[in-house]
């Protein structure tokens, strides 16, 4: 009985916040001019499209958010690091990924992870999972989403655009998982993922910051 009342109160609160929330996502880490200058006018448009998508998804359920973000980034064409960056393995930031409008599996995962985090999906539910793709027989990375710690995760993949529970993804063999924060907060992280020309020793993973601001 008590539980029902609490649930009801919570529901009303959520609804109120949702209905009357006037906060919107805006670009804050970098100016649009700078994006345009660096990556061209289409990149600017893509960034604006991303912000718009996030504003559309902001009041949706977590699953909806997963769908929208997964679809948005899966629209980007796949290219190997070698062809984009000239190196065997390179982890692009979300801005680089959107700017270049191409990338490989890790770039999709990183972009999806940061976007979902900004949309309010708890980082503790998201894992970056190394998996082997049996279909292509290659090392692969996907973003996995655990609704609860013990549940079967959902897989956000750039090979298969559909979000499926992991046990239905027989084409993937899981190898190892990292929680995103673990990876991106590590001090030494990604030293090996640098471009040869890059002299900065820390990656500005959040160089494209999109934050909620009151209108």
């Amino acid at each position: 009985m008590k539980t029902n009342v609490l649930a009801l109160c919570f529901g009303v609160a959520v609804l109120t916040v949702t209905l009357f929330s006037t906060a919107e996502f805006v670009l804050s880490g970098i100016s649009l001019e700078k994006v345009e200058k660096e990556y061209g006018v289409f990149a600017k448009k893509r960034v604006l499209a991303l912000v718009a998508m996030m504003n559309r998804a902001k009041d949706e359920s977590e699953l909806e958010k997963l769908e929208k973000v997964n679809d948005f980034f899966n629209a980007t064409p796949y290219h190997s690091d070698k062809s984009v960056w000239g190196v065997d393995d390179y982890w692009a930031t979300r801005l680089e990924f959107i700017g270049k409008d191409k990338g490989d599996c890790e770039d999709y995962v990183i972009a999806k992870y940061f976007t979902l985090k900004e949309l309010g999906v708890p980082a503790s539910k998201m894992y970056m999972t190394y998996a082997k793709s049996l279909k292509f027989n290659v090392a692969h990375m996907v973003l996995t989403y655990y609704p609860t710690p013990k549940s079967i995760p959902l897989v956000l993949d750039n090979y298969n655009y559909k979000i499926l529970p992991a046990n239905e993804r027989t084409d993937l063999v899981p190898i190892y998982s990292f929680s995103g924060d673990d990876l991106f907060n590590a001090k030494q992280a990604q030293l090996g993922k640098m471009l040869p020309a890059v002299t900065k020793q820390t990656r500005a993973w959040d160089e494209l910051k999109i934050e909620k601001k009151e209108k």
Partner: protein, 651 residues
């Protein structure tokens, strides 16, 4: 604090701070590195062990998991490895206490190392199985860091020592010039004129050295001019213009020093050479030949004078030459004179020999002689010689007391005197006269011998023989020892002045011995001991006296020159010795300072003596007229029979 010390301290501090800073920074870097390593190691282990654990297919196969964890844990690099389930329940935990045996506790307390803690997620297929937590072992980190610290300290100590060593070396070199400048300045104060030929490397020091050199040259110039003046007056007063020998006037001023009882000079031989009809010779043979003859005579007699270093040699007038020799060997002297006369005779034209008469008389003198008696005795022996035939040398040796004993008997007498303590002491006060009162400056000590004949003899009686027998320094040692015993036995209020013999100062061993004796005394006692040597000793043993004077000054004793008269070489030796005082006979002082023709000489002597910081003590004061003169001359330090008698010291 010296400049050297200040600079050394400053630079050492500077260096110390720099080294300390570098060391701290280094240590910090090392700490950060070790801390990083700890984290990296934990992280890597968490991942690799996590990967391995994820390979286990069966979630219930805890045994395999434990085995894997143990395998890693037992390497000893971990404090804790824990496998925690998804709900936070520990599945398997391995931990150990941190015990570091070879690192001191203070180090662990001081240096904080955050324990690195890394996690990794364990998957079983797509399912999350739990979290692996890995903590590195800080003990290893501490051990590594402590070793680093020790290495750093060792390295920096070595660097510090080397650099400080170099620093001190450079500073010493650089500040050497300041020391030189200081020595020059001190030298000027003490009238030593040091011209520094080596120019320092540092610009400022160099200009200072140049300036100092200029100043020293100037001061030296002034001193030299004064000395020059003094020497000119000396020449005017005391030198015979034709031969440059001393004149009668000089002889008269110097004789009292030879004829006082308490000196080695008070016994010996006198020689007089007299030439008759010199005027006629001059007329007939011309001035040039006359001068040749005179020079020949002077040269011949100079050779004689060389037999004894304390010889007093003067030309009394145009035709008389006189030598006073504190010297006993009349046989050698006569032989020398005979040879000389023979050569002289051969060199003179036969026609001149008809009327030119030259006679030489030898006699003995002792402390009982007076100037008058001595010169009349000399005249007498010369007339006897002339009667004995031309170009002859006559000896008139009334045996003085000292020659009654044979050499061996003398030796026995002196050695016994020493061993039986038959030497006794007498003192005479030297005073400093002020307007109404006077104070005792010091007491001069005289040595006496209670002879085996029952009489007490003054030094003039036995010292000449002691010198011949090589016992003079033994007697000096005896005197010094006796006086030191007095010092130790009783409180002394008046300084004692002891006369040292030429034999004593001439041997290094004696000086060493004296130094050892004096070092046993306290500085206050040493200030009560003054030493004197005669002017002749100072001139003939200059090097020894310079070092003796320096040694005595260093020990706090005072040093003086007795029987002072400015020698023909000038006052340079005073500059080298820098005595505290000189004792001059009042006759000499009157003579040099009151002569109308040499008005400036008083000023020059005063200037030299004053500039060297030397006090003049007038001696041999016999009558009231002497006192009046001294008053007029402004000489306040006085000694003599009129001032205070010589009194025997109580045993």
């Amino acid at each position: 604090m010296t400049l050297f010390k200040q600079m050394a301290v400053m630079l050492s501090l500077f260096l110390g701070v720099i080294l300390a800073c570098v060391m701290v920074l280094n240590f910090k870097t090392a700490t950060a590195f070790v801390q990083d390593q700890l984290y990296t190691n934990a992280k890597n282990t968490a991942h690799s062990l996590g990967l391995s654990l994820s390979k286990i297919v069966d979630p219930n196969d805890v045994a395999s998991m434990e085995t894997m964890i143990n395998a890693i844990f037992d390497s000893g690099y971990y404090e804790r490895i824990a496998l925690i389930g998804v709900e936070g329940n520990p599945i398997y935990v391995k931990e150990t206490d941190v015990l570091v045996s070879d690192v001191p506790q203070w180090f662990i307390n001081t240096v904080t190392i955050q324990n690195a803690y890394a996690t990794s997620d364990i998957m079983m297929g797509w399912n999350r199985f739990g979290t692996l937590e890995v903590s590195g072992h800080t003990g290893n980190a501490y051990r590594q860091l402590y070793k680093t610290l020790i290495d750093l300290v060792e390295t920096f100590v070595v660097i510090g020592v080397v650099v400080l060593g170099l620093l001190y070396l450079l500073l010493t070199l650089s500040l050497q010039s300041i020391k030189q400048i200081r020595d020059q300045a001190r030298g000027i104060i003490e009238n030593r004129f040091i011209i520094e030929p080596k120019m320092p490397f540092t610009t400022e020091f160099r200009s200072a050295t140049v300036a100092m050199n200029a100043m020293v040259s100037k001061v030296k110039d002034i001193f030299e001019r004064e000395n020059e003046t003094l020497m000119q007056y000396q020449d005017l007063l005391y030198k015979d213009a034709e031969t440059k020998l001393y004149n009668r006037r000089y002889l008269v001023t110097k004789l009292p020093e030879y004829l006082q009882g308490d000196t080695t000079l008070s016994q010996g031989l006198h020689v007089m050479l007299s030439v008759d009809e010199l005027d006629r010779f001059k007329k007939e043979y011309g001035y040039e030949n006359y001068m040749k003859l005179i020079k020949k005579v002077a040269e011949g007699l100079s050779g004689c004078a060389g037999l004894c270093e304390n010889t007093l040699f003067a030309r009394l007038n145009e035709s008389d030459f006189f030598l006073l020799m504190p010297f006993q060997d009349d046989v050698a002297l006569k032989k020398h004179l005979d040879t000389m006369l023979l050569e002289l005779q051969r060199s003179i034209d036969a026609q001149a020999l008809v009327y030119l008469v030259i006679g030489v008389g030898i006699g003995v003198y002792n402390e009982h002689d007076t100037i008058k008696s001595l010169l009349s005795k000399a005249d007498l022996t010369v007339s006897q010689a002339k009667q004995n035939g031309n170009f002859t040398c006559t000896m008139a040796l009334q045996q003085p007391h000292s020659l009654i004993l044979s050499r061996e008997e003398w030796r026995k007498e002196l050695v016994d005197g020493l061993s039986e303590s038959r030497f006794v002491f007498a003192t005479q006060n030297v005073i400093h006269a002020q307007d109404t009162s006077s104070s005792i400056v010091h007491e001069e000590v005289f040595i006496r011998l209670k002879g085996s004949d029952g009489f007490t003899h003054s030094a003039g009686f036995f010292l000449p023989m002691a010198t011949v027998l090589g016992l003079a320094d033994e007697i000096d040692r005896y005197m010094i020892q006796k006086m030191l015993q007095r010092f130790i036995a009783q409180e002394m209020n008046t300084p004692l002045a002891l006369n040292l013999s030429a034999e004593f100062v001439g041997h290094y061993a004696n000086i060493q011995w004296l130094k050892e004796q004096l070092e046993k005394l306290s500085p206050t006692q040493r200030a009560m001991l003054w030493f004197e040597v005669s002017n002749t000793i100072a001139l003939h043993n200059l090097e020894a006296i310079v070092s003796l004077s320096a040694l005595l000054k260093m020990l706090g004793c005072r040093f003086g020159i007795d029987s002072f008269a400015i020698p023909s070489e000038g006052a340079y030796y005073l500059q080298a010795i820098r005595p505290d005082y000189v004792k001059c006979s009042v006759v000499y002082l009157k003579d040099i300072m009151l002569d109308a023709s040499t008005g400036k000489s008083q000023e020059s002597l005063n200037n030299i003596v004053r500039s060297l910081g030397i006090s003049i003590i007038a001696t041999n004061i016999e009558d009231e007229q002497d006192l009046a003169t001294l008053k007029y001359l402004g000489i306040a330090y006085r000694q003599g029979r009129l001032i205070a008698p010589i009194e025997l010291l109580a045993e």
